[in-house]
């Protein structure tokens, strides 16, 4: 297995593929630790519930079926997001990560801080259930 350089990460939100509008994506899979320490023992933990986060940066696009049309209706809603290292078929070397029930709290439709610059939209999906698929 080779070290990977991400060049063409595949990303969908609510079944809509926005990979060609995406600049960065960070998926954090977490299972919260819960204290299970007992008298006479050392500090011990057990796994609690998942607390997942997917942060993605897209370039804003107001055309039909593009970024704004897809994201705006999802604010305050839950949906499914997927991400995998490449666009090719899902496999053990190109696993698909799916979060169902991911919540989107906010969106920045207008982010015009530099004259003439592109407008990045950074979204943070939280919660939900993460599943990793390799086939």
């Amino acid at each position: 297995m080779a070290i990977i350089a991400f060049k063409n990460v595949d990303f969908t939100v609510n079944g809509v593929n926005l990979s060609d509008r995406m600049n960065s994506v960070v998926l954090t899979y977490e299972v919260e630790q819960q204290d299970a320490t007992v008298m006479g023992g050392n500090r011990a933990f057990i796994g609690g519930i998942q607390n997942n986060t997917l942060e993605v940066t897209l370039y804003q696009d107001f055309d039909a079926n593009e970024v704004e049309a897809t994201i705006f209706p999802l604010v305050g809603q839950t949906t499914t997001v997927t991400v995998r290292p490449g666009a090719q078929a899902t496999s053990s070397t190109n696993p698909l990560y799916t979060i169902t029930g991911a919540y989107l709290a906010s969106h920045t439709p207008i982010n015009a801080t530099d004259v003439g610059a592109t407008s990045p939209v950074t979204l943070t999906f939280t919660g939900g259930t993460l599943v990793k698929t390799t086939s």
């Binding site: 969908t12 609510n14 079944g15 809509v16 593929n17 926005l18 039909a64 079926n65 593009e66 049309a69 897809t70 705006f72 209706p73 999802l74 809603q77 839950t78 949906t79 499914t80 169902t100």
Partner: protein
Amino acid sequence: MAKYQVNSHRLNGKAFGDVVSETDLVGANIEALVEGGHLIPVIKTSKKDEAKAEDN
């Protein structure tokens, strides 16, 4: 069961013009897809409605 026509080239695994049902969209937020213009609800017309339209 509600049906929808795909009105987008960006829906994973669906082609523009496909007609899909809710079961084909499991896990998706259908309202948001409709609002975003990716799906158009297919409105069924009954035979009575069709007959009325022909009469008019």
